[in-house]
Structure formats: C-alpha cells, structure tokens
Symmetry: C2
Subunit: 335 residues, 2 copies
DNA sequence: TAAACCGTTGCCAACGATGGCAAGGACTGA
DNA sequence: TCAGTCCTTGCCATCGTTGGCAACGGTTTA
C-alpha cells in the first residue's frame, strides 16, 4: 500500500505538501502541485480513509439499517435513493439488514458506532411506529417509513391518506360511483390511512360510505393475492357490483385481475382497477398495465440522507420534522 | 467519544492492559480483567474501528458492488446472503450500486480501496461476461452471476443448463410430450444455457427438438409479460399445441397465465407451466402458485463472501474456481 | 543463596494522515 | 539597504489503538 510518505519522497517534497495538495489547500505553488499530482497518479496513491478519519473525525460513513426491507422487493429503491444521495456528497453507505431481530439490531448499531458513522437511517418495510429508545441519543438518526413513539426523531413517511384519496378519486373522476376497496385487516398506518383517504374521496363526491363495498383480508397475509381473488369475486357477485376497485397494494391486484377475468368482465371497460405501491415488475407487467399510486421510495431514501447530512430542515419549531411524502399517481391502462 | 485512555484512567491501569482485555490476551489477571470490563461497560466504551485498522491493517470491510442488481427485485436475496455471511464473521458490507456506469464503477472501486476493503464482491443482475481489467489485481475479487473474460477471477454462476434441463424434465416426467419453451432472443449465458438444457431434456426422453415449439422474444424487453402473452397464445393456437410450457423467467409467466386463461384452458390440468428464478412475489402469488426453478441468490451471496474470506476453496489446480451453482426445483401447483 | 523463570504490567513507538506553527526566500516600499 | 509582507514549504505533534520490549515481584530450581 502506497502512503503519503512515499508520494512525498518520490515528488521530492514534504509530507505536509502532499497533504496540502490532497486537500486543495491554496498554499501550494502550481508547479509543485502538478509535480505531486503526477506522482500520485503514477503511484496510484489513494489516501487511507481510516488514517484520515483519525485526524479529522469525519468518517464519511452513513449507516443504513433496515428491518426486513432489504429482503423484500418492495423497498429496494429506497436503498438506491439513499446510496445515490450519499454518493453525491462523497459519503458511503453501510447496509445492515436486521431481519427485525432486536438483538441483531442492537449489535448492528454498535458496529456502526465502531465505524463512527455520521448518522443512521433506519428504514422499515411497513409503515409503523417504533420505539425511540433503541437508538443512541448521541447519533443523528432518521426514520423512514416509520416514526418514533414519542416523535423525538425526524421521520419520513408516505402520506397514506392523501394516497388513498388520490387512488379513489382517480376512479370517481372517471365516473365510477360504486367503488370497492380491498384492504388488509391490520391496525397500521397504511391500511388505516388509505381507508381514511378512500372515505374522504367518497365524501368529497357526496357518495355515502358503503361498508358492503369494503373488504378486509385477515392475517396471515401469505396468500394475499389469492385472498384478494376471493374478496373481489364476492364484490363482483353483489347485486349492485362496483365498477371500480381500489386495491391496497399492487400484489393484491394479481388476485383482483384474476377475479375480474373469471367473471368475464373487461379491464378497464367493465371494471377499473387502481393499485398502490407501484412495484414495477407487477404494475408495469400485468395486463393491462396497472394505474397505481406510487410509494416514492427512491425519493424517500434520497431525502433521508439529505436530511441526515443537514442539507434539509430536520427541525421545525424545536420539534423533529415528521415529513409526509406525497404519493403521485402513475397512470397506465387499468382505469 | 470515549477512548481507551479514559477507560485506563478510570480503571486505574495502563492503556496497554485495557488493550489486552479488549483483545482477549491471556496475560491479564482475572481481577484486573473484570475491573476493566466493568469500566468499559459503565462508560459504554467501544474501540474505534479506524484506529484499530491503523495498527492491525484489518479493516473488516467487504465491498459489495452491483451493476443494476440492487435496483431490481430479482437480486436482493443475494445481498442479504452476502451480508449475513459477512456478519457471521464480524465483517461489514459496503454496498455500492453502479447502475452499470463504468465511470461510477471505477470511482466506486477507488472508494472501496480508500476504506481498505479486504475484498470485493461484484454481482451482476444478468448472467454475463465482464472484463477482468476493471478490477485491481491486488484486491481479492469475487464475481457473482458473471465471469471474467479470461477466467482470471473466481466466479459463482448458476448452472443454467442443468436448470433448463430440470425445468423441462419436470414437465416431461408428468407425461407431457409437447413442451413449449418461451425465451428471449439474446446471446447470453442464461437464454443459451436454458435452451441447451431444454434440448438435453428432450433428448433424454427421446423427443425430437421441434423449433415450432420454441419462441424467442426480441428486444426491447420492457413489456416482457405482454410479449410472452402473444407467444404463448400463438403456441396454444397451433394445430398440435403443447401441453406444457417452460418460461424463461417468472415474470413471463404472468403473460403465459393470461394467454392460457384466454383460451379457456386450465392450469395445470390442460397446460402445465414451469418458470425460472423463483421470484417470491410472483411465483408464490400467481394463481395457481408457480412451480419454478430457483435461482439460489441467497446461497450465492453467502458463498461469495465465504470464498472471499478464504473459508472455501477459490483455486483449483492453479486456476480460479468457476463455481456452477445448482438451481433446485420449487414445486408449487402449476404442474 | 543466586539464578532462572513465570505471570502480570507499563512504556513507548508505530500505523497514515492532518494542521499549527515557524522558517526560508522573494518581493515590495520607504 | 533594510524592515515588512507574502508566498511557499517543512517540522512535528496528534488522532486511538496495538504490540514489542522491558521491568516488576514472587516463586522455583540448582
């Protein structure tokens, strides 16, 4: 391994001067700088990040902690967004997937501290509440897709209500007056919020909420698409069936499509469908391509890192910012 | 930040002794060790990885480089597998996604060198050949899902031929004698290998290869499921249609299922389907659940790290090992 | 009784980089 | 001509940790 000392020797200057060149210090004669630069190139020298950190206290590292997120297709864009933002600012990302095991999580946080990460992004796969106490107080922490029980940490979460409203309104605006909603039976922000959005949208069109049009799939959620098939089928077999269906997520749309085709109805002519999440390999590949509300994972990851680096506001009125991210509509062909 | 010096002061011993405790050096009296340990706990001291590296030259870091892999749902298991193996040996993973941009890739490798990673795992999304020259010769490198043009680097790739054979045999064993194959028109190891496996399986059952039963989808591959729909439909409308269909990947199965249902045939009673990749959110969720050949991404990631750490053979007869990973069949309900 | 030995401990240099400080040379202005 | 200034450069301490070496007191051995 080449060191700064060797570079100095080869260039016939002191170590201090090489250091100055490395750090773009103006107090170096142009000729000296070029000389050093060429030696650096020639020797293929790269300063040791560890040694640099020792002096400066800047590790340039960001810890990225996930529960089960990284195991799942849904969240990968989040990591990529975070990585890109980090990269743009010369930072590197440490990725650790804890599989939602508290013990692993504690060990992961310790490891990150060992490497003196400048901050931690903690991202969860499902929008949920977490305990703030698991994070060290002395380390900047940013939550994505989750929020602290006492709101003591800045967080970024999707605006589920607005998203649910948008999905429903998309159907209502096309003239659908009987709109079904297939969701999951869980007391979590996502199903709760999207349902609330669904109700708000109906209300804004002066349509009464009809609970016969709403189906909640119970746990376990393994065969989710399959359960959705049953739910949608029962919806379509009602005497006054819905002409538009809002699915809680894109995965469920697989089942919904099957059910609609089973009844020989056409999409979108007879029944329009709107999804949620915009998982590309589902939404863009099903037939017809799915109109869905996007969970802007890439942007959320990007914003998380930017906030962590202090490039965005993280405090408003003395309280950590709780960002609500707008989920845009991705129009394809199912409405 | 607490340092070893402060621990030493609090414990009333020398820095050297604390270091010995930290490194489980036997030359410490039991009482002293306990005393130091309790101070460490009390102060919540963690040794600085950077300082430690400075002395020992062991960064405990592994670079994980991906082309577009991390952007795609297909490959995340690979990353999780690698991470878990690294974790088990006290190593940390640096994740960098280069988006297949050579410039970013070069910069990423440099960054990893800055942090003195002990080795690099380079994983690609599609099985392909890469140039060995982009990697530094002085850094252990392991290729996953790809191989070096001159085979100068150890690599781990799926056994496409055996996988294709397994998929096809699964159909043949159930009595299907007319087996269609829908693939992509690309001169890459995956389509080439799986086709070869398909031919071998037919041959072993004494069935002549009939090119009318094989369809190749041309680029671009955006609407892949949709193109598959057309291909499968044309296959089923042949005078002597296949009763079993092998799809190059699980994504294409979405289109295949649609086409089969369109012709009012049942799966698997009238037409059996086998996929490839075992992408959970597709294979386990379509109806009926898909029997498919698994691309064992988790195991490949795990093996990559183990090989990099020297826990597995990386050289045989003076040549870098080129591992062929067996792809097992995941039986569900489509055959 | 002295030498050898053992277990335990501490001093100090080293890893590779940075930054404060000072010094050398060239130039300016009086 | 000389002091003052500016530009450029080098010396050296420092960051937190580890490991070689030496020293210490106490015990065993010849």
């Amino acid at each position: 391994m080449i060191t700064i000392k060797e570079v100095a020797q080869h260039a016939g200057v002191s170590v201090r001067t090489v250091s100055r060149v490395l750090n773009n210090n103006p107090h170096v004669a142009e000729a000296t700088r070029n000389q050093v630069l060429s030696v650096i190139q020639e020797l293929d020298f790269r300063p040791s990040a560890a040694a640099r950190y020792m002096r400066t206290g800047q590790s340039q590292l960001i810890g990225f902690l996930t529960d089960e997120l990284a195991q799942n297709a849904f969240g990968y864009d989040l990591i990529i967004g975070a990585q890109q933002a980090a990269w743009e600012h010369g930072k590197l990302l440490f990725l650790l997937n804890t599989n939602n095991d508290p013990e692993v999580e504690a060990r992961a946080i310790n490891m990150m501290r060992d490497y003196q990460v400048e901050g931690i992004v903690y991202a969860t796969i499902y929008h949920r509440q977490i305990k703030h106490s698991q994070f060290p107080k002395d380390l900047p922490t940013l939550l994505v897709n989750c929020f602290a029980d006492d709101r003591s940490l800045p967080s970024i979460v999707p605006d589920e209500i607005a998203g649910g409203r948008l999905a429903t309104e998309t159907l209502l605006k096309k003239g659908h007056r009987r709109v079904g909603f297939v969701s999951i039976a869980a007391k979590e922000p996502a199903p709760l919020g999207r349902l609330e959005g669904y109700r708000q949208a109906l209300a804004s069109f002066d349509i009464p909420y009809d609970e016969a049009l709403v189906r909640f799939i119970e746990e376990p959620f393994e065969g989710l698409a399959n359960s959705t098939y049953d739910s949608v089928l029962s919806l379509l077999q009602m005497p006054n069936p819905p002409t538009g269906i809002f699915c809680f997520n894109d995965l469920m749309v697989l089942g919904a499509y099957d059910a609609i085709r089973k009844t020989s109805l056409r999409i979108p002519e007879d029944v329009a469908v709107v999804g949620f999440d915009n998982v590309e390999i589902l939404a863009a590949q099903v037939h017809p391509p799915l109109t869905t509300v996007e969970l802007p994972n890439f942007e959320m990851g990007q914003l998380a890192v930017r906030m962590l680096l202090g490039l965005e506001e993280t405090n408003r009125g003395g309280r950590p910012v709780q960002h609500m991210i707008h989920c845009p509509l991705i129009e394809r062909k199912s409405v």
